[in-house]
Symmetry: C3
Subunit: 148 residues, 3 copies
């Protein structure tokens, strides 16, 4: 088992079953040592601030990151090839009054730092949108650096 | 004529006339072998799910990609310099109930794969927004890798 | 004083006090010579097109870029290390009828070009969203290239 998957286990988490893309795109695409990871929506549906609380959306973001890690493993074979997390973009389907997007996306950022430590710290955008695919609550995309 | 433009012709498509940026930015910017392509909005205006059907927005996305290819050609001289499509981001101006953003953005993804084959397959984000410049229906941006 | 900070002074501007990230992310993250800069929201709050005019939002974008430059200086030590501005993404919290996002984001683009000249010209996305963290009016993120 990879070092990162062992860390996941120690956190009481595990990789969910891989779910393929829903349309004509790849789960991730490598260019040189850069890995562009496609956006993935949360399994949780609904608008944050009305249908979901901030805490529920925070949990949805963490869970979505787990789904993304399963996609990355499928794409590159081994999560230990990731040497740095460069950028995370998080879209939160937000009620018109909802402004706690940073707290929601911390659900994913926290897990990245728990798994990769200082190299898991990343640049980030957390923003609010009115609608997401399938009516999801949260959507996340990543840019990573892989080992040579 | 370039190989990619010949492929476009075989698909019954052609490059539209180049349209310059509307504000203080470049159509695309190269850094090393990475090409960052500015977002371009569709000529089609309106909200998807009310003013436009999913199919109309899908066609608008394909047409917008053609506009972008003309911009890239203007920027780098020859579309054959593109060796890989890394990432596509698509914003769909969405009615509050509209959740088929992936189907809309496939209009662009399909054409990228038709033109560049396996190297045209890409990471992707398709998301919903409440408003776009000029009231457009769709907005697309790209990250590409160029030959050395 | 750095060359870029001297240019800022000649424009009648200066770097504001550095403000740290509000959640679990870095102000910027370097990968090779690429610098990913986290999104930063404007100090100005409100919806553009109702609470703020286009001109007020344009000024807010320029001011937000100054906040971002202070963050970058904190992260990399010296703004003169920036050799190229590659990409700017600007989210504008838009009233449902507001479509002048490009004019708003020019507030940041103009300053980038004033400071870095031809290398400050960049690819760009300017888009409209319904909500932003803290109810801000504008949010900006950057990708830059640093000297070796």
């Amino acid at each position: 088992m990879s070092h990162i998957e062992a860390k996941l286990g120690a956190l009481g988490e595990s990789l969910p079953e891989y779910q393929p893309p829903v349309a004509n795109y790849l789960g991730c695409k490598q260019s040189g040592t850069t890995l562009y990871v496609s956006a993935r929506v949360s399994r949780a549906r609904g608008e944050v601030g009305t249908d979901l609380t901030t805490d529920a959306a925070h949990q949805a973001a963490r869970r979505t990151l787990l789904d993304i890690l399963a996609i990355i493993k499928q794409g590159i074979g081994d999560l230990d090839r990731i040497v740095s997390v460069d950028k995370l973009v998080g879209f939160v389907r937000s009620a018109s009054h909802f402004t706690e997007q940073p707290r929601v996306i911390d659900g994913a950022s926290d897990l990245l730092v728990e798994l990769w430590g200082v190299e898991g710290r990343h640049a980030r955008t957390a923003t609010g949108v009115a609608q997401l695919p399938f009516g999801a609550a949260v959507q996340l995309e990543l840019i990573l650096t892989l080992s040579e």
